[in-house]
Symmetry: C2
Subunit: 344 residues, 2 copies
């Protein structure tokens, strides 16, 4: 491969890649990649994401490195986009070689972020949720919902998903998309209805507000809460009382304390880092009555894992294009001469 | 333009764009754009770049926003790349719409960074150097050298450039490339020779070391120093004594104190922000004997200006390709359905 060419996975190629491998297989593979990287957590350069906030949304850069490979994601969050017919979250990402700084991969990440978020949720739940969980409530049936449902089916053995959204059209869309999945899909009329019999409660709503998707009296003993939607300052989904009853697991505390549900708590409220549960350094679920909460905001290492997974599939599938993105003159000091010679 | 398509300016298209407009014209235009953005400096979101350091180099992200448009650059710095036949600095950048978070432009920035760095240097010198400066010493004749020479010709009226590099091949390359430029080019045998009669001293070497490219006794009264190469922690070019004799002008102090020549000074050593000279809030050069120093490390706003300039040229020149980078389903909540439909 020529040095100046960077493999690029477009939206079209990403869809083809996912369909070629199979969505559930991709979700399982991603969960394994992410878990493997969480297991070597201390090796990574970690920094809270670099956010540029405006009145209507946020644009973020999420970099990390394991010392050999560097990755970052560009991602926006604009809840108001929905009203304009646009995605609330779009993303793309890059991998580069730490030894040279040269890019190795540019990829769409709107689809890949949905996949890695669902894979991370299900991977966390496999460590934290009751082992016999078969029913999941899904409150918020937007762009992320089907990915979550399939990840929990493939990775945690969930058999029934109970759907509720403030907008019935979203629930219809979700139910329709999951019709052939093998999951039992139950449309629910209320949040209370959705959580009936569910051992896992997933919240993935998109409003940029302090919201209360789950009230304290809706959360019984022993459940696992997978809180996806509360992921930036001022955007939360859970009543604070729930947090005080829960054992809270997070990706990277300096980021989650700003962006997650725990922004509602004191800065020193005890939380457990998920990677330490995975390595066995810390206990996950310790009793059947315990409420476990994965306060997920998404972390750069998950994107890194996902990009490396995609990078590993390029050669075998050929599902990429080459981008002429890096100026690479024959004499590296002769950048100017390269331009002059282009004129000839 | 379809929402999911992002205009992409490849290396090839960037060379064509520069040749189409003319290199000196581009440098003058960029200097004007950068100066205009420096004039409205307080409007920008500013943050020191986010750097990931390794033993052999650094990978950086440089974001900024003016509240309407967001931009960032990916750039590496790997001095050891030169020995491997690779560029020491490669870059690409992105503009996005703050209102939606959707990308507006992806562009190569290896060439564009060389152009904007030279344009910024010459723009700063127009405010700081002696008005009658006609001779520039250029110590370090690598990838940046020709761009600096042409920018100082076009923007400051420099007529002679005196070249010196520790590697005579670099000087030969630079002299050859500038042969038809209208500049008087003088090859010099030493640093001392290069500075003879020069009112502007440009240092643009690439070693990642504390180096002393200029000694104190080489710098006479009244000159302007354009210090380009010292731009990351541990990488400097000037003897500290020179700094103590100079009036020091910088782009963004929190970044320059970490990366610039002034990393050698106390954290409270007085410096002037260049934008305040441009707006007239602060004096630039105040006497003929004063030594002015532009301690340049490169700042995100300069890249933002350059990306906006390129973006403004797309429609008229057609010099871009469209990238399928943003997933944009008809119903923004139906990302999953978009994948399902791609299977059909």
């Amino acid at each position: 491969m020529s040095l100046n060419l960077v493999p690029f996975v477009s939206v079209d190629k990403m869809m083809k890649l996912v369909l070629h491998i199979g969505i559930e297989r991709v979700l399982m593979d991603l969960a394994a990649e992410i878990e493997a990287d969480f297991r070597r957590w201390p090796q990574f350069d970690k920094t809270p994401r670099v956010a540029s906030h405006s009145d209507v949304g946020v644009i973020e850069l999420m970099p990390t490195s394991d010392g050999t490979t560097y990755g970052f994601k560009y991602v926006n969050g604009h809840p108001s986009n929905l009203r304009r017919g646009l995605q609330t979250v779009t993303a793309f990402g890059l991998l580069a070689d730490v030894a040279t700084g040269y890019p190795l991969l540019l990829s769409e990440m709107t689809i890949l972020t949905a996949l890695r978020t669902a894979a991370t949720s299900a991977m966390a739940a496999r460590h934290l949720a009751p082992k016999d969980a078969r029913v999941m409530a899904m409150i918020g049936n937007g762009a992320q919902a089907e990915f979550q449902a399939l990840a929990f089916k493939a990775i945690c053995g969930i058999e029934e998903v109970r759907l509720y959204d403030i907008d019935p059209d979203a629930t219809d869309k979700c139910a329709r998309n999951l019709a052939g999945s093998g999951l039992k899909i139950t449309r629910c009329k209320s949040r209370e209805d959705a959580i009936l019999g569910a051992q896992i409660l997933t919240t993935c709503t998109a409003d940029k507000n302090y919201a209360t998707i789950l009230n304290d009296n809706m959360v019984g003993a022993g459940v696992h809460i997978n809180a996806i939607g509360g992921d930036c300052p001022g955007k939360t989904e859970l009543a604070p009382a729930i947090l005080h009853r829960s054992s809270i697991f997070v990706e990277y505390p300096p980021q989650t304390r700003i962006e997650g549900e725990i922004q509602q708590l004191a800065a020193d409220h005890p939380v457990t880092e998920l990677w330490q549960v995975i390595t066995g350094e810390t206990a996950g679920r310790t009793s059947a009555s315990q409420i476990t909460l994965f306060d997920s905001v998404g972390f750069a290492i998950e994107d890194f894992s996902a990009l490396r997974y995609v990078h590993g599939k390029l050669a075998a599938t050929g599902l990429y294009d080459n981008l002429d993105m890096i100026a690479d003159p024959d004499d590296p000091r002769d950048l100017f001469g390269m331009i002059l010679r282009a004129a000839a």
